[in-house]
């Protein structure tokens, strides 16, 4: 069944300094899809993701969230995970995860259960009282994910969430993310500049090119889930990676030309 979660309709975005970050971007993400936005640095991935979250105004075209009242997190069920963990260093892990609920007016007592659930989903039960500085990079990222999923979002937007992590932690979090995605039935838009990560995770990869940012390829990855280490070493995986790599190279040539 097709039921769009977010729709970009010929979206342009020009910043006040004249930078054309997005030009004529149209895309439809269906409910339950895991879509990766793949492209070189500076091609407008973050800009597109922020717009999908309802942050900032489009300069042309329109964005629709057919399943939500408005493009707002919390009320409408959008979760956002930044490239950095973006935790409040002065607040405990519990308070950091509580934040979205707290801003919506939920008391600590009422939120306790949901916060603990979210922490346990990312494997951090027992750390509610810790402070961010006491955690490793991977654990901080887990807290950040727990904070995004505590509101039970339908649409999860992730901006290179594992970009700063080592490969081992990254693979592990990739697996955990896929498990959560399958069990919770999210729609995910995942920004990355790693071909391998995008192929491993996604149903579909949108390749972007820069200056101006636009979508140059839409590649379905039809390998079945659950995916695990054996997928990583499969022939299919290798084939998809080559295909996506080639598309990415073409995208970067377009830019050079």
């Amino acid at each position: 069944m097709t039921s769009p979660s977010v729709v970009f309709d010929r979206v342009d975005k020009t910043f006040s300094n004249g930078t054309v970050a997005l030009k004529d971007v149209s895309l439809t993400v269906q409910k339950g899809e895991f879509v990766s936005l793949l492209g070189p640095s500076g091609c407008g991935k973050s800009t597109a993701l922020r717009l999908a979250a309802g942050l900032g105004e489009v300069s042309g075209g329109a964005i629709r969230w057919p399943r939500a009242e408005a493009g707002r997190v919390g009320q409408s069920g959008i979760g956002f995970v930044f490239q950095e963990p973006t935790l409040m260093p002065w607040a405990s892990v519990f308070s950091n995860v509580w934040l979205p609920l707290r801003l919506a007016g939920t008391s600590k007592r009422v939120a306790r259960h949901e916060v603990m659930d979210a922490l346990s989903l990312v494997g951090l039960d027992g750390f509610a009282g810790a402070y961010p500085r006491e955690l490793s990079g991977g654990m901080k990222m887990r807290v950040s994910i727990a904070r995004a999923l505590v509101t039970r979002p339908e649409l999860l937007l992730m901006d290179e969430p594992f970009g700063a992590l080592d490969e081992i932690t990254r693979f592990k979090l990739n697996d955990e993310l896929l498990q959560l995605w399958q069990s919770l039935g999210w729609t995910v838009i995942f920004v990355t500049h790693s071909v391998f990560e995008s192929v491993y995770l996604s149903n579909r990869i949108l390749v972007m090119s820069a200056r101006p940012g636009r979508i140059t390829a839409d590649i379905p990855i039809d390998a079945p889930y659950p995916r695990d280490e054996s997928f990583r070493s499969s022939v299919d995986y290798g084939g998809y990676c080559r295909q996506v790599s080639a598309a990415l190279h073409r995208a970067m040539e377009v830019r050079a030309a």
């Binding site: 922020r50 979250a53 309802g54 942050l55 707002r72 997190v73 919390g74 009320q75 959008i78 956002f80 930044f82 950095e84 973006t86 409040m88 260093p89 002065w90 607040a91 934040l99 979205p100 707290r102 801003l103 919506a104 494997g123 951090l124 027992g126 750390f127 810790a130 402070y131 961010p132 500085r133 006491e134 955690l135 490793s136 654990m139 509101t151 592990k172």
Partner: protein, 286 residues
């Protein structure tokens, strides 16, 4: 399970951190007190020896023993003077904290207010207080209030500028997160901007604490006030006038001690508030 392992490892790390937090800073703290203390004792001994060995007259340079005696003997004069100075210092600091923080919040909330007010705060800051003091003395109802106003003006700016800077130095992504979650202006202020600004504010507090004392003393020199209401600065001037060197030194020692106490207190407050999370207060460990 790997998740369990990492959890256990993290707990162990936390425990180790706890233990070393008790051990290492202990010897560190002893050193921090012992070294300056040893130097102080050595200097005092040298001073006393010099004064005795060369039979330096008291009206030129009293020995440390004489100064100590003066503190005790002249306490009836110096004690109340110290209280006056401290009262002005702390009143000025309290006013500066309240005023500085309130104004900083207003400036950050409204771009117009910032454009209108900030330049004048800077003018007030860069004009030497000794130059402004005579004017304030003319217009203020009492000398004491004039001194208070001077100390306030000096202590006010570091709180204002540091807090303003802090309120503005909020992580942009956290701001985005708050916006995404529909945070109100007040929620953003109290849950995000204020805690982000705390380390900056505390820097302002430490600077202002010291400056408030300095300004209280300087303004009193400028005022040259006399009588029962006068503070340590006047007592020092008076002692100099009468060539009562032991009392002059005694007054100086008391001002110094007050300054050190204020610095220690503000540093302690800062440490207590930040030790759980801020890099500046966390012992570095590798």
């Amino acid at each position: 399970m790997t998740a369990l392992d990492s959890r256990r490892a993290a707990r162990m790390r936390a425990v180790q951190e706890d233990q070393s937090a008790h051990q290492r800073p202990h010897s560190e703290r002893v050193l921090r007190i012992a070294v300056p203390l040893a130097i102080l004792v050595a200097l005092l001994a040298l001073w006393e020896w010099y004064v005795v060995a060369y039979e330096v007259p008291h009206y030129l340079l009293p020995g440390p023993r004489l100064v100590a005696q003066a503190i005790v003997a002249d306490w009836a004069v110096l004690g109340p003077a110290l209280m006056v100075t401290l009262k002005i210092t702390f009143s000025a600091l309290a006013l500066a904290l309240v005023g500085g923080v309130l104004l900083a919040v207003i400036l950050v909330q409204s771009r117009w207010a910032e454009l209108a007010v900030y330049p004048y705060a800077v003018v007030l800051q860069v004009t030497p207080i000794v130059a402004v003091a005579p004017l304030i003395l003319v217009y203020a109802p009492t000398t004491q209030s004039a001194i208070l106003i001077c100390a306030f003006i000096v202590a006010f700016f570091p709180v204002l500028s540091n807090t303003t800077q802090g309120l503005k130095s909020v992580d942009h992504n956290l701001l985005n997160l708050f916006e995404l979650n529909g945070a109100s202006r007040w929620q953003t202020l109290f849950l995000l901007k204020v805690p982000s600004a705390l380390p900056y504010f505390l820097t302002g507090l430490r600077i202002s604490g010291g400056l408030a004392l300095i300004a209280a003393v300087v303004a009193e020199f400028a005022a040259g006030s006399a009588g029962a209401q006068s503070g340590l600065a006047f007592r020092i001037l008076e002692a100099q006038f009468r060539l009562n060197m032991p009392r002059l030194f005694a007054g100086l020692v008391l001002i110094s001690a007050a300054g050190v106490a204020i610095f220690a207190t503000t540093s302690l407050i800062s440490h207590l508030l930040l030790r759980r999370w801020h890099e500046s207060a966390v012992a570095r460990e590798n």
